[in-house]
Symmetry: C2
Subunit: 399 residues, 2 copies
C-alpha cells in the first residue's frame, strides 16, 4: 500500500527526520498511536545482550494494553548501561505527555548502531513535532523512519470483510542485516482494528512468528534489539473474535499472510542480496531436525557464496548438512533445484546436467528441496546469497 | 624450510602435476613414503558426510602401521558413492604395487571439489611416475601438490637433539577455506623419525589438535575430507620415547609447536583474508563456555566484515556473544583490542577513543580479549576477516 491509503481504524502514525542519522533528511523517528487503548502482545530477542528498549518494552507489554509506540532508527540504544535505560524512560514520558496518555501505555523501540548513547536533545526535540504530524495516512512515513540498511520501506495491509463491516491488518518491518530471529524478530509492528483478547493475541503472534519470521535468515546473526509487536484496538469490529468463530479463521489466515509477506520482504531486501533461495528439507523424522538442517544450509557462507556466483556446487549443500548434528543417511539424500533432480541417493543424479542447474541458478528466486527419505516432516527457510555488497555494507556500517 | 632441506630420516616424498587441476602445471598428486614401517595415528572429520578416502583411511589407520600416503588435490572424491570407494582402493593398490609394500599399509587422502568422480586414468597414470620421483628432498613438492585455494604451501620442520642424535618433526598442511575443524582438521600430515608406540602417538595427536587445529576458523564450514595424520618411523632414535622421559617432554613441546605453526599458517592463508585476529575469552566459568563464546565471535559474519572494514564496531562483538547460549552478565564484560580497554562493564570505556581503536584495527594481526569476570577459565580462537576476496573465491570455486 502507498502512503495515500488508510491504516486500521483508530490508528494514526507519523515519521520524521530528527537528526540521529547523518544523511540529510533521512527519517529516523516514528510514532504509532491508537485513539483508544489497544491490546498488545510482543516477542523479543533471545540475545543475551538486550538493548535498553527491549528491557523496558518487554515489561510494559506485560500490562497487555498500549496507546502508543515511539521508535527511532540510527542508534540501537544497546550496551549503553544505566544511561540507556534512563533515555528510554525519558522517551516514553515525553511521548505520554504530548499525547496526554498514561506513561505505562507507551512502548519504545530502537534500531541501529550498538554501543553509542542516544542523542537525546535531538530525540526530545523531535517527539513533540512528530506528534503534531500524526495522521491516519502516516504509515508510509513511519515505515521509512524505522529503516537502517533497508533499501525501501516494508509496509503491508490486508482487509477482510466481517458481518459487521471490515477489518484491516497493517504491518511494517525493518530488516536487511543481523537477521536470524530466535523466537522473535527484527523490528516488526502489526496493527489491527479487530477486537481480540490479549491472551489470544499472544498465542496468535507466537504461532505466526514460528512459521514466518523465525524461518528466515540473512546472515545468521541475531540483533540485540529484535522486537515484534501486535496491537489490536477493536475499532473495526464491535464484537471480539474468538477461536472457533468463522471470522477468527479468516482473521488468522489474513494475519499470518501479512506476517509471511513482511518476513519475505525482509529477506528480499537482505543486505547485498542478489538471490532469494527457499531451502526446504522434507522427509525428516521431525520438524525440529528438518528446521536445523535447513538453517545449517541456509547459513553456510560457502553455500551462500556459491549461490551468488551461480556456481552449481551442490557438494557444499551436502557438506553443510553434515555439520548440523542431525542424524541422516547421506546415501539416501535427494536434492532438487526448482524441480530438477540434481542429487539422487547422495551422488550426482544421472540425468542432471550442469547446464540445467546453471539455468536455475540464474533465476533471482529459486527453491532447493532436500529429501532425506527418513520420515514425513519438513521445514522451509528463506535465505539470501553472500555477495560483495554484503561485505561492503557491513565493512563500514559504523563509520 | 625450503625444498633443499631434508625431512625426518627414512622418509621420502614427491609431488607432481597429473592433470586433475585444470591450471597448466599445477601439482595435484603427492606421495609420502617411509623406508620402514611407521606407527601412525589419525583424526578425521566429524562431518556426517564423509568422503570415500576418509572412510577408507580411517579403517587403515586402525592397523597402527603404514608405509605410504597418496594424496590428490583438485577433487575431494566425496559424494561419489560406490565408485568413489572403488577408486580409493585402486589408488591404494597401485601405490602398494609400485612401491612393493603391503596394500594394507597405504593411506589415501583427497581434497577439492565435492561430488565429481575422480579422473582415474590420470591418477593411475600419475602414480608410477610419482613413485620414481620420491626423494628425501621432495617435501616441498608434496606440500605444493596438496594445495587447493591456498596461495602458498605450508611446510614446517623442527629439529631436537637427543642423547643419541637428532629427531626431526616435519609437518605439511593445506587449508584456506571450509575451515572450522571439529576434533579433526583440514589436511595435515606430520612425520617424525622419533620412535613412539601407537597409543602414545594417538594420545599426543588428540591432545595437540585440541589446542591448535581445533582452535582455528576461517568460515565455520567443515569439510567432508578433513584428515590429520601423524607418522613416526623411529629412524632417528634407537630407543622409544615414553612419557616421564625428559626427551619425551621436549618432543611433545616440539610437536605441538609444529602443529601450532601449521594451524596459524592455515589461518594466515585463509581465503581472502586481510586480517588475522585472535579472540580470547577469559574469566569464564569453564573452558568449554570460553571456547563456545570465542568461536561465536570468531565466526560472526558481521564481526568479520567489521574487521575487514577496520570499523570500530565493538557492539557486534557483544551481540554475537549474546547468541552463544552461554550464560554471562553483559554488564560485567570488558573488551580489549590489543591491550586497549574499549568496553568496560558492558559499555564503552571512558578513556577509549575511536582513533585508538582504529589504530589497532589497521594492524594486520591483533588480539581481542574479552573478560567475563566470572571465573578463571579461558580459550583462544584464531580467525580471519570476511573480505570481498572470500566471496570472489567461493563464488566460483566449482567452475
Amino acid at each position: 500500500m502507498g502512503g495515500s491509503k488508510l491504516g486500521p481504524k483508530g490508528f494514526q502514525a507519523a515519521g520524521i527526520a530528527c537528526g540521529i542519522k547523518t544523511a540529510e533528511g533521512a527519517k529516523d523517528l516514528a510514532l504509532i498511536y491508537s485513539e483508544v487503548p489497544a491490546r498488545v502482545a510482543g516477542l523479543f530477542t533471545k540475545n543475551r545482550v538486550k538493548a535498553a528498549p527491549i528491557l523496558y518494552t518487554r515489561k510494559t507489554v506485560r500490562g497487555g494494553v498500549c496507546r502508543a509506540l515511539i521508535v527511532n532508527s540510527g542508534n540501537a540504544n544497546a550496551c549503553t548501561g544505566k544511561k540507556g535505560l534512563m533515555d528510554v524512560e525519558a522517551m516514553a514520558k515525553l511521548t505520554a505527555d504530548v499525547l496526554h496518555i498514561p506513561y505505562q501505555q507507551v512502548l519504545v523501540s530502537s534500531t541501529g548502531v550498538i554501543g553509542q548513547p542516544l542523542p537525546m536533545e535531538k530525540i526530545l526535540r523531535g517527539i513533540p513535532s512528530l506528534a503534531t504530524k500524526l495522521s491516519p495516512y502516516g504509515f508510509q512515513d513511519a515505515a521509512e523512519a524505522i529503516m537502517t540498511t533497508d533499501t525501501h520501506p516494508k509496509l503491508i495491509a490486508e482487509r477482510m470483510a466481517t458481518g459487521e463491516g471490515e477489518i484491516t491488518i497493517l504491518g511494517m518491518a525493518k530488516g536487511a542485516g543481523m537477521i536470524r530471529p530466535q523466537l522473535a524478530t527484527m523490528l516488526a509492528f502489526i496493527l489491527t482494528d479487530a477486537q481480540l483478547e490479549t491472551e489470544i493475541l499472544s498465542a496468535l503472534l507466537r504461532e505466526g512468528v514460528r512459521c514466518t519470521f523465525n524461518r528466515i535468515t540473512v546472515d545468521g546473526d541475531t540483533s540485540t534489539n529484535d522486537m515484534i509487536l501486535l496491537m489490536a484496538n477493536g475499532k473495526g469490529s464491535s464484537t471480539p473474535l474468538y477461536p472457533g468463530d468463522e471470522r477468527f479463521h479468516t482473521f488468522k489466515a489474513t494475519l499470518f499472510r501479512v506476517m509471511d509477506q513482511l518476513a519475505r520482504a525482509i529477506v528480499r531486501d537482505g543486505e547485498g542480496r542478489t538471490k532469494v533461495v527457499e531451502i526446504t528439507v522434507r522427509g525428516a523424522r521431525n520438524s525440529k531436525e528438518a528446521e536445523k538442517l535447513a538453517f545449517r544450509v541456509a547459513q553456510s557462507p560457502l553455500v551462500k557464496a556459491a549461490f551468488f556466483g551461480q556456481d552449481p556446487n551442490w557438494g557444499r549443500i551436502m557438506a553443510a548438512m553434515g555439520t548440523a548434528e542431525v542424524p541422516f543417511d547421506p546415501q539416501k539424500v535427494d536434492i532438487y533445484f526448482d524441480g530438477d533432480l540434481v542429487v539422487e541417493n547422495g551422488v550426482r543424479a544421472k540425468d542432471s546436467s550442469t547446464d540445467k542447474i546453471k539455468e536455475v541458478l540464474k533465476r533471482e528466486e529459486f527453491r532447493v528441496i532436500i529429501d532425506l527419505h527418513q520420515g514425513i516432516s519438513q521445514a522451509s527457510v528463506l535465505t539470501t546469497d553472500l555477495s560483495y555488497d554484503y561485505v561492503r555494507i557491513n565493512a563500514s556500517y559504523h563509520t
